[in-house]
């Protein structure tokens, strides 16, 4: 078995222990399978997500780095956004660094007395003071820590939060190696609540293949097959060429591209911000996560002219910043805000990136603020004179800073303070629930494709499009009708299988490559014998545990079933308008299935 020690760091006492959980790894492989059980063990039922009793857990996958594109790490915590399961994935170098630091994962407990960071190497784990690093942007702290630990160059991963996480913006994100993130569900706020600014993981270890691999020749041939599938077949071409923004034009064509706070599903200027346009006019270069030969991370050059130089304004006062763009960002901070100039969208992405805040949630908070101001629900007094209008960049830039800096406090709460709490807190204070786009308090990904994207987000354990690909079912279902039971079964099967992929942890972009039989072969090579049937049983068991953990933290699908925002029933979709009864019927079908499949009443 691979080196799977779990490093348990209690920041309150600065105690560091190594824990062995071989049974969990044997049974659940790694990643989310092991992590969900650790989360259950370490976090009691009634803990405030931003209290020191919450845990922040990072787990690498069970076959990390041993095969191409098996590149991700999972973060688990009680979510300050939804109040229940926090589960988020990031690429970058982290999983490789964890493997080569000789560990399976990290459990962070307690709260440091002063702002701190962690250094993790094979035989050394230290809690270090980070006072001067407080409130640094994610980009700045990356540079400082790279300089502080030059010996780890090329072998380290730097995981950090920005001002938003430190200020407990509930949807603060965790930045990994500049361009990847544990973006969703507020991991950055949890990290900030622990006074933990950063982790540096340095992977210096060497693992002998003959110790871990059953047959080196077969292993190399399997590796080669997966490598070729990644590089030379059409399966991954989409991610290689246009990256995820390839979605813009097809979704726009299908009327599934959320626009203007989900009032429209088509964007008149889609051509201007399409993946094709970005590659043609703005792409600077591509980068890749460790072990991934695809290189889906598309980086644009944001070229800006600055003003008020002491030497007097000059056309040569130009600076250029690299900004990673993805479909979800172009939707949340682009179409959703009706911004049609790619440079404007890149400016918003860059700002959320350095503040360390989830761009999807921020986009939906901003679009709610704009609509609320348009409708007169909030005034210019509420926004301190900031005018938030669809299609206009300036107000959104100002609002993001106000939200992330958390101006106002418990005694003097203002609009932006509530905005930092999230959409749910905003609507409780000001109203406007009908157009607050969220599912279980979590703003969804960018698909207004039809009923299954809404239902998929609702029943998925982390309320993500990546739980079960409801948007994909919408697209498959456009040409044929499918009954409620088959649809729900499809979504549940998809989510269960993804539990296995998320225990390995492969990048889900490659899920077509990692078929059940390939997964069985990969595990066999790592001396983890599992049949497809056994994997199915494990996937069920992980899903059951997730539902139990959510229930332990108070999640109730009954509570949200009738409380989805009305906008979902007003917005045009690829299917036209969606009837509330249709969504409710599907969710009830799911509840029935959960009872019969897992023996749990939800």
């Amino acid at each position: 078995m691979l080196p799977n020690d779990i490093i348990v760091v209690d920041l309150s006492t600065e105690s560091i222990t190594r824990k062995k959980v071989p049974d969990l790894f044997e049974k659940f492989i790694g990643g989310v399978g092991v992590g969900i059980h650790l989360l259950d063990q370490y976090v009691p039922a009634n803990v405030d997500p931003l209290n020191s009793d919450n845990a922040l857990i990072f787990l690498r996958g069970g076959i990390s780095t041993f095969f191409p594109i098996v590149s991700k790490t999972v973060a688990l915590f009680r979510s300050p956004v939804t109040g229940d399961l926090g589960e988020s994935y990031a690429g970058g170098r982290l999983s490789m660094a964890l493997l080569l630091a000789g560990i399976g994962g990290i459990v962070i407990l307690g709260k440091a007395k002063k702002t701190s960071y962690l250094i993790i190497e094979k035989d050394n784990v230290e809690v270090k003071r980070a006072g001067p690093l407080s409130y640094m942007y994610t980009s700045t702290i990356g540079r400082v820590l790279r300089e502080a630990y030059p010996t780890g160059s090329g072998r380290r991963s730097i995981v950090r939060i920005g001002p938003a996480g430190e200020n407990q913006v509930r949807y603060g994100s965790i930045n990994v190696d500049s361009f990847r993130h544990f973006g969703r569900l507020g991991g950055g706020a949890v990290m900030g609540s622990k006074n933990l600014k950063a982790l540096i993981v340095i992977g210096n270890d060497t693992l002998e293949l003959n110790k871990y691999i059953s047959d080196e020749k077969e292993y190399r041939s399997l590796y080669q097959k997966i490598w070729e599938d990644c590089v030379k077949t059409p399966v991954m071409r989409k991610y290689h060429v246009l990256g995820t923004p390839e979605n813009i034009l097809p979704l726009n064509y299908l009327k599934g591209l959320p626009t203007r706070n989900f009032r429209q599903s088509e964007f008149n200027y889609a051509d201007q911000i399409s993946g094709e346009r970005f590659v043609q006019d703005y792409l600077s270069h591509r980068v890749s996560c460790n072990t991934c030969p695809v290189g889906c991370i598309h980086i644009a050059s944001l070229r800006e002219q600055y003003k008020d130089s002491p030497a007097g304004d000059s056309p040569a006062d130009i600076h250029t910043i690299s900004v990673a763009y993805d479909y979800e960002l172009l939707y949340a901070l682009g179409t959703n805000l009706e911004l049609k100039n790619p440079m404007d969208i890149l400016k918003l992405i860059e700002l959320t990136e350095k503040q360390g805040v989830d761009s999807i949630t921020m986009g939906l908070v901003l679009s709610w603020l704009a609509e609320a101001q348009e409708k007169g629900l909030i005034t210019l007094d509420d926004t301190e004179g900031i005018s938030l209008r669809f299609g206009e960049l300036k107000g959104f830039m100002q609002a993001i800073k106000k939200i992330c800096y958390r101006i106002g406090d418990k005694d003097a709460r203002n609009l932006f303070w509530y905005a930092g709490e999230g959409l749910h807190a905003l609507t409780k204070q000001y109203g406007g629930e009908d157009y607050a786009i969220m599912i279980n308090k979590n703003p969804p990904a960018g698909y207004s494709t039809g009923p299954y994207t809404i239902v998929g987000h609702t029943i998925g354990a982390r309320h993500s499009h990546l739980d079960n690909a409801g948007y994909s079912l919408d697209q498959k279902n456009l040409t044929k009708d499918i009954d409620a039971e088959s649809a729900i079964m499809w979504l549940v099967n998809e989510e269960e299988w993804r539990n296995i992929l998320n225990s390995l942890i492969i990048c889900l972009f490659a899920k077509q490559i990692f078929t059940p039989s390939i997964v069985v072969d990969c595990l066999h090579q790592l001396k983890i014998p599992k049949s497809e049937n056994e994997l199915h049983e494990i996937s069920l068991s992980i899903q059951k545990k997730k539902i139990e953990v959510k229930q332990k933290f108070g999640f109730s699908i009954e509570k949200i079933k009738y409380n989805l925002p009305n906008r979902f029933y007003e917005m045009p979709t690829s299917f036209g308008r969606i009837a509330p009864e249709k969504i409710q019927e599907l969710i009830e079908t799911y509840q029935y299935l959960v009872q019969s499949r897992y023996g749990i009443t939800i």
């Binding site: 072998r155 500049s178 890749s288 030969p293």
Partner: protein, 146 residues
């Protein structure tokens, strides 16, 4: 005709580590970055978009060879570069003269577990795993800038 490794298009590097991992996996039969003969690092983080590929350039007259104080530990390879004899090489018996003499920092390095110098054998495994064509095997004798 002998061939040696050449970094032909560094600007194409996407930082995927396939070269490093392939070298370790296929040549050294390990999963490691430390024991790989070819290393990738960012120059100023991923946001810079600039990577360095650190590897032996396969010198015809390798400066690391004559400075080695241990008999038989290192010998020039026909066609450029050097070969290390792992049985003779012992970093505890020298001052890592080979590492110090090479003007490319990191092109030859000492593996902390083996206590051996690790350096590229010019086998071309990494070339086959690079998805963007950064690396090529060139025929020895070409004096082209890079």
């Amino acid at each position: 005709m002998y061939k040696r490794l050449r970094i032909e298009h560094l600007e194409r590097c996407i930082g995927c580590y396939q070269c490093s991992l392939a070298c370790a996996r296929v040549v050294e039969r390990v999963i490691s970055l430390d024991r790989s003969s070819i290393r990738v690092k960012t120059l100023g983080g991923y946001s810079s978009g600039s990577f360095a590929v650190v590897v032996c350039r396969g010198c015809i007259d390798p400066p690391c060879f004559p400075v080695c104080p241990i008999d038989g530990a290192i010998k020039p390879r026909k066609g450029g570069g050097v070969l290390i004899n792992r049985k003779s090489c012992d970093a505890s018996q020298c001052h890592q003269e080979c590492v110090r003499e090479c003007p490319i920092p990191g092109a030859i390095h000492v593996d902390s577990e083996l206590n051996n110098a690790v350096v590229c054998r010019q086998c071309g495994t990494c070339v086959k795993h690079c998805p963007t064509g950064v690396l090529i095997m060139e025929e020895v004798g070409i004096k082209q800038g890079y």
